[in-house]
Amino acid sequence: MTGDLAFGGWSGVLIMAVYGLIMLAIGLITYFKNKNIRESNTEYYLGGRGLSVMVLFFTFYATQYSGNTIIGYAPQGYRIGFEWLQSITFMILVMVGYLLFAPRLYVLSRKFNFITPSDWLATRFRSKGITILGSILMLYGLGNYLLEQLVAVGQGVSGLTGGTVPYQLCVVFFIVIMLIYSWLGGMRSVAYTDTMQGIALLFGVFILVIGSIVYFGGLPSTADYMATFTPEKLGVPETDGIVGWFSMLVLVLIGASIYPHAIQRIFSAKNEKTLKNSLIGMAWMPFVTTGVILLVGIIGINAFPDLGEMESEKLVGMMANAIASENLFFYWAMILLFGGIIAAIISTADSVLLTFSSVISKDLYGRYINPKATEHKQIFVGKITGIIATGILLVIAWYPPATLYEIFVLKFELLVQIAPAFILGLYWKQLHSKSVFIGMVVGTIIATVMTFANITPFGIFSGLWGLLVNLIICVVGSLLFNISKSEKVEVDKVIGL
């Protein structure tokens, strides 16, 4: 194994510094161009609702595909083989999820000036319980997601530099850069840096797969190897694998499309055409992103056989190092991949952090704790809590609690519990607020208990069991209890399109 030689010394440091400086420069330019950005929630958190097709597409892309997509998905492909083709389908299903609610939510966001996803819950249900619980579940999902990005930075850098650039130094360096540019320019900075980062991510992924094919042999030779030594990774999966595959699809369909930071991007679109074109582009990205990364993982089965679970997490670093040591072109190409991975991680982290701050500042602080606060003060509170939360997560990321994949599944368990309120609320006027709230509470408790006790009947994730009970309570409650006449009038005002 050539794990220790490639990215040593100054080239790794140089590329890190250059990426950091470009991001900072974008933040500074945005700041000087829009000085009033921090006086208004719409300006700061939604970029003044003015994102064009290209910027919106890349901010969707860089937000949806994180560093984990490269660093975590390749090892998962390595571990389970072609069964991980599901990563293409579930990324497409995220778009199907959007079709369930994005058209209507976009129209309502314009009508009622939504800033955060909780604004929708508050407008629809006018229930303190639903809004607060929904906000807390979103904060949990977002915090978890941010943690995942911090762990990814650590794993990525330690894999790619062979330890030359210290793990902690790199994590802290990029978090500080991210905090500065988010602080300066809000959503605009985040979206513009996402554009740069999205391009770097795409470029990096392609260079990695080309390098892997050139130096480790293409798929046919790997398939021969698999047929001999690991046929279970090549053949149609057994029942357990199939059930896991189905439940993963359902979980992502519901969970990933209601990611709060993705929803906030729906609110940020300049107009409907922009939103539609960006979503069409996103529907095709899984093939050139998760599909290509799966190839890297599969080729790794032949290139680095018999890695243990935690060892395999460093697969991309090992492959990149091996490719980089072949010649000068691939050396620099892998340096760029390294930058692309960092960019992908940071671009997801910044989007998550911005939404996290907006939920705290607007939904919890501005709505309930200090309703008289000016928007400037709300934004300030959001920024400070964002920094504190990042600090806490950084401490946790120092000692990663599980593999990236396990963390990835865990965050869905609770986030999906807002789905019935979120989606049914858009269409069903009879939806009964108290039933929605009780469903959400019970679903959350079931998902939490089952996750901690590691109970997954029939191999179906505990979040889905929680969601099933949540949905039953929601629907049966709404059929049994009628909503009052005054409530009916209010609901009609909101969703009577």
Partner: protein
């Protein structure tokens, strides 16, 4: 205010197609452990999953283009004038 002329969620056929594609996208209907023929190093069932996924993306593109149509409410426009 935008008004819906067509909304994807209200198109029953679209959701039937999505349902069928969803079921086809997981190879539960194929013999466990089978992988031959291998085409370009990818097992035959992998190609099926990829083709179904392509059909998914094409359907989504169609739905966004032709089944998500809103237009300005003429009454609102007059009011604005």
């Amino acid at each position: 205010m935008l008004k819906f002329k067509k909304e994807p969620i209200k198109n029953g056929k679209l959701w039937i197609i999505f349902g069928v594609l969803f079921l086809l996208s997981v190879p539960w209907y194929l013999p466990v452990g089978s992988y031959k023929p291998l085409i370009l190093g990818i097992p035959y069932w992998g190609w099926i999953v990829i083709l179904v996924s392509l059909a998914f993306s094409a359907t989504i593109t169609y739905a966004i283009k032709y089944l998500w149509i809103t237009e300005e409410d003429p009454n609102m426009k007059e009011e604005e004038k």
